[in-house]
Subunit: 311 residues, 6 copies
């Protein structure tokens, strides 16, 4: 299949693409159109759909792949795709995998990056526990999304979330003395492991039955408790404080943490998780927007769009 980058201004083209974003807009004289963002699995391009019936009639939704026919205009000296036909994909017509949304870093790079941080853990109990648990669920740990629709909702989202948090945690350890870095890194590495059982899989995940009944915090406690018993370290200070970090990482009872943070490392873990979950959800939306406009609605901000300054 030809990729976007090979298509030229002036051409009439047809291609498969996944709809990443979709927004109804209005021209100065109030006629409606759609601004959509399409991905060929490699690059993203913006497109205009002047005939709103193409979108509404085909019930086009984000996250799905369609076949598009378009003319490529020049607009502000850039390519602008104008869509003139849309249809659903026929069974077997295209390999869906190439359109799966993935983390900005490859699984390979995430494995390497995360392992660098595991190596920094000098405390043997913690390092063994972290390695033991991640090995048990290694496939899922590096490929699962971070959430259903809130943030990091793409393949390897969980690992990307973990890796960004490790980088942030490293900075906090540099600025604020007083924390045990082994414990903080272990907490970051394991804080969301329950998600590999809370979510049903990599693509368009749903909550599993046990996800609904227990949630990832309780399942994380369960997984660490059993692993600690297997390694015979269940009575250690390491496991006690690590379980506290898992239990308290949502920061407040009303967000599902059975305990509020009661250690400096627990506050740091919570703040790093909060910061990454907000900014990692906002960043791609802003990058896809034009200056002086609102971004697409962002799920984790209650579907609020943010203003992108004209600077």
């Amino acid at each position: 299949m030809r990729k976007f980058k090979e298509m030229k201004i002036g051409e009439d083209v047809s291609f498969f693409a996944v709809v990443e974003a979709l927004q109804k807009r209005y021209t100065p004289n109030k006629s409606a159109y759609y601004s959509i963002s399409l991905s060929d699995g490699e690059a993203t391009t913006d497109a205009r759909v002047w005939d709103t019936a193409l979108i509404e009639g085909n019930n086009v939704t984000t996250g799905k792949v369609y076949h598009f026919t378009a003319h490529i205009n020049e607009y502000a000296s850039k390519k602008q795709f104008v869509i003139n036909a849309v249809r659903e994909v026929l069974e077997g017509e295209v390999d869906m995998k190439q359109f799966i949304k993935s983390a900005p870093l490859s699984e390979e790079n995430l494995r390497t990056g995360i392992k660098e941080y595991i190596k920094k853990i000098e405390n043997e109990t913690l390092r063994k526990l972290v390695i033991h648990i991640i090995n048990t669920i290694s496939k899922e740990y590096f490929t699962y999304p971070g959430a259903m629709s809130m943030h990091h909702n793409y393949a390897s989202g969980l690992a990307y979330h973990t890796y960004s948090m490790l980088r942030l945690a490293e900075k906090l350890l540099e600025i604020y003395p007083g924390m045990n870095s082994d414990l903080l890194y272990s907490g970051v590495l394991l804080h969301d492991i329950g998600k590999v059982r809370e979510l049903s899989g990599i693509n368009t995940p749903t909550y599993t039955v046990e996800g609904n009944l227990l949630g990832h915090i309780v399942m994380g406690i369960q997984m660490i408790s059993v692993a600690a018993a297997e390694l015979r370290v269940e009575e250690s200070e390491e496991v006690l404080t690590l379980l506290h970090l898992i239990s308290s990482h949502h920061g407040e009872l009303e967000f599902g943490s059975p305990k509020e943070p009661a250690m400096m490392e627990a506050y740091a873990l919570h703040l790093v998780d909060l910061t990454d979950s907000k900014l990692a959800a906002i960043s791609p939306a802003v990058s896809r927007s034009e200056k002086g406009q609102l971004t697409e609605p962002i799920n984790s901000l209650g579907r609020k769009g943010l203003y992108v300054p004209k600077l």
Copy 2:
């Protein structure tokens, strides 16, 4: 030591007793006195202290044992102790154990009563799990208090709380069809097991370090997870649903449950726990009060006193 029941109206007596309740009151002509409730470890008696300095000067506080000198008046054809001297107990002067506040039922009776309900559990996985866990912590399970100061704050309070809840749960199973009784009984039996590690002991307990960092819900999840792994039933529907019951028994996130109830048995467990924790704390306070008065302040109601109707 002579017990209250052997003391007669008209006598001058002296004795050791623990102060169970203490309230400053006023006579119709506004002079202050103390109404106190004393226990000889067997029976409770009310006493008047007309000289408030006896209480305030000795810094008398509830839960402690003192030596009292009193005259026994007749009041409304009942004995009324009028205290005329109070002093602290000397080291070794008295065996404190006899004054420890205990549940209304003996440990022996609670063991028997609770075992009757364990026998009702027909599901083998649940019954084995319940027995395995209770056996491991049997001593604490039947002697620990239910809380530090809120409700069931006395020896065997935890078991008494559990037993009353089992009786209530039995009634709910009778009135409301749809629940699995094995699961509900198991949930009641294990819902507070984490307390044997959250509290430091039987008398004047404090929170342990792990109690502060994890709390009894997380520790209960931990204990059941490890026990289930040992019995090789960790993947069973029984363990999944039981863990849900433990996780959700506080009813709402803001009360420390990482999940809200999502099964009928979980609602029943929460309601039975709520009902018992309120009424078991209120009942002795009302029993110690006079009609037409407010009870002593009740800790679990935010130190509110309740009105006792003149009926």
Copy 3:
């Protein structure tokens, strides 16, 4: 009209029935169908509607009676109705009354059961007041629903709610000493009497104008105040404490109680009301569900469905 129990596997049948529950589901290969629950006014049966247009085209809604044509399959050795036609009922074609949803106990049984509890009230003032008020509104008291859509939303729901609460209250009186049983039973018997004026009638009730302006708590206070004045007991401790029970039975100001519970009997009344309103709404939904599935959405739980364990 032939009843469900007379219909046999293999037959093609047609009948009138009220739709009690309705849920869109999906087969493993993702094709939609409806699982519906039908009542012939006597028994309930589950049915499948493979052609979703039958439901959506006729705008089928719960609580209404329709004429159905079906074939009865055998499924898991039980009857399974497969609907192949639905139509609205013609005016006068069928007697709607036979489909009115009723309490699990008959009005007759409820009258008998409730009277047993009234007889237990030994305090003359309370007994006379209870009898006087119930007699005045006897027809409505034993036939009205307990609510519009939340719980006990069926004929005699109010009386059934009252009767279950009396049974629960009896258990509480047994377990927790300190309460005046006459007062607690009177409180249960009268706590919702305002509902006979808050709701417009037995079937598909709406709120009356005075229901909207005053609500059943204020109207209950009004009814008891006037009755007490008629019986010349308005200054009694009985009326004062009974009015407190009515005023506080929602437990918290934000749920519409002008006072929070301030007596042990008021706490008991609130807890019994809370327990019955939750479990009586959950119980039939669970009974209608299959194990391992979610129940239909339950109104009084914010339309949440509950998981039914596979035990």
Copy 4:
């Protein structure tokens, strides 16, 4: 007894006075003194107490009468009392009644003013009901305070609160068309009648038992319900809407109203009550303060003091 207005600059005087306000302040060079506000039952004067031991040693508290010895300085061409001795009043030494804090208007004036508004009510049902109820409790209605410590906590505070609200309501009726003035005036006149039974008396009132168990909203509903039954108007639109006004006048459930306002008159009543309760509590505190300073702490604002601008 000589009154403040007869005392002159330069004199040494002694007198009885009630302490209306009391505030510890600091001179520019940080030495502490007390600024107190004294009332001879007629006028109020400010005084300085340079020797803080006079206040603290005698445990001087607001609301109580003391005997003072003072020298009168000239300060900013006004009299300034400098206290040099304070002592408690001996039993029988002075008639306490003359120091009772009263509303800014006399009971006589309030009776006249309020009656003017009753005369404006043209609807016969409402006017009769208002007159019937006020006549029954006429003594208390015109002498009781409006609250224990929040606002209008002085003799005739209830009537003064009612009268100010009537004046404000009159203005709202002028500005905002759509309201029935008879209903709004009746609502204002009766909204707090329950207070004559909620509070124990005129001076240093406490809550009565029924005040604690029912509160003034429920008692108001009770009083109006019984009066309406006596006048045989209990089924009227007038009584229904009046009861709604009483029930909803706190504006929100969490402030003890069993219903939120659902009529324009109910919103007006709530807003007028809110405005008067805030400003009538603030006004005297501001009047007693100096510009550029904070007022004494104001009870109904959570003990916050307000800044008085230097304008």
Copy 5:
């Protein structure tokens, strides 16, 4: 164009009118109709639409102008318009301006009325500041709406809101001593000036970009700060206290005030704003309703309709 007042009972008429209110109702025998309120820009009339398809098929919405054909019946001795045709307006067919909803007082009258209050301000700093700011934005100040959809959402709504608040403030100054009237009037006059930059214009306004990013409180602070710097009074007590009034006029942090009221004038401003925003939104809805009915849903009350008493 003929106006409503010239049309007579019995006539068949056609006209342009803006739909001010629209409500689906039901006849006693349950057939649906629409009750609509029409304005010819001068007077308002009620109309019935028995054929609901006229409304629903044309997607008739409030705030828009349509062409209507009607017959005028006599009903309860008043004119009742029965609509039998509706169509959209053709481009240029009618001058839309004559249908713009306006404040109950003309811009002229509002200018005069507001200037009377400005004249009352004796403090020179405040008077100059008020005049300087209002002059700068005079056009918008007297023509802008007060809000998008909540209250005062019509031409000159901002000025009408300001004027009503001035009248109310005058009454408060009369009843409650202690306030500086210059400051309170200035606060009322300037409290919402930021709205002339928060809203996009007079008709069907939207929020501007700076309205979304800053809001009218911050923009008011900005405008007053700059004006004060220009007049070289930025360090004055007048500007400090005025900025406090602007900052705190929403009364609570959660309503967007960066400070809570901390002066008596600030409380008064908040209460006057609250009262006017509630009652000015309710008043026209009640006036358009029939007695014994609910009003149309009122935006600023969360779309709640109010009951209009039959008095």
Copy 6:
């Protein structure tokens, strides 16, 4: 004066020191002692006070300087000061300035560090505005504390807070694409400038009158608005978005922000401020604590102490 580092184990010493922290603790056999943290203005040392009367009798409080007499023991091969006398400092006896608590970095270093970040701002409008404002208040900007008692409550705390936030912001810009770094750095640099007018000075600051009436957010808006008008850039996108950042940096209305964040840079500023305010307050408390113990109560966490893990 001899400094701590010159004092040796075994010596009897006397010295002046400021009390930085103070905590009552208990030996294993329950006898009370005080653990205090003393600063000679250069280094901090821990001390034990076995005679609690020394502390309680002299009413020793943190933040004040006292004269101490002590013996230096060896404990765990470190110096341990055992205090045996404490007295207040006589007027003029010691130069208090040397004990003023300061930021971990010197004013000099902070000036240099902050200027490095100002240089990174390429946008001329923003850079000029930042420099103009900081120059105007340069003395206070680099010497003021960050708050009264919550966090950064020491000399140059404001600058240290700003500098740490700049470092964190730099990391966020590296990890999350989409932000304008000039705007984010400007926002960090100016977000708390209002504090130089909200607080009364460097040592033991209190809130100024304008601090109480306006708060630092409003004063920051005021200062930027006036500066922007002076530089004639008040209509620029730079000033609009910068004012949004200042307005929203507390993140939620209830924390005093008149607007919630509506741009990516605003979220980043809020998260960086939140993270630094929590961790900068926790870090020194943890550093002063022993492993396995709770820290001193931390003001900004509601006086909660945190557990320091034994790792």
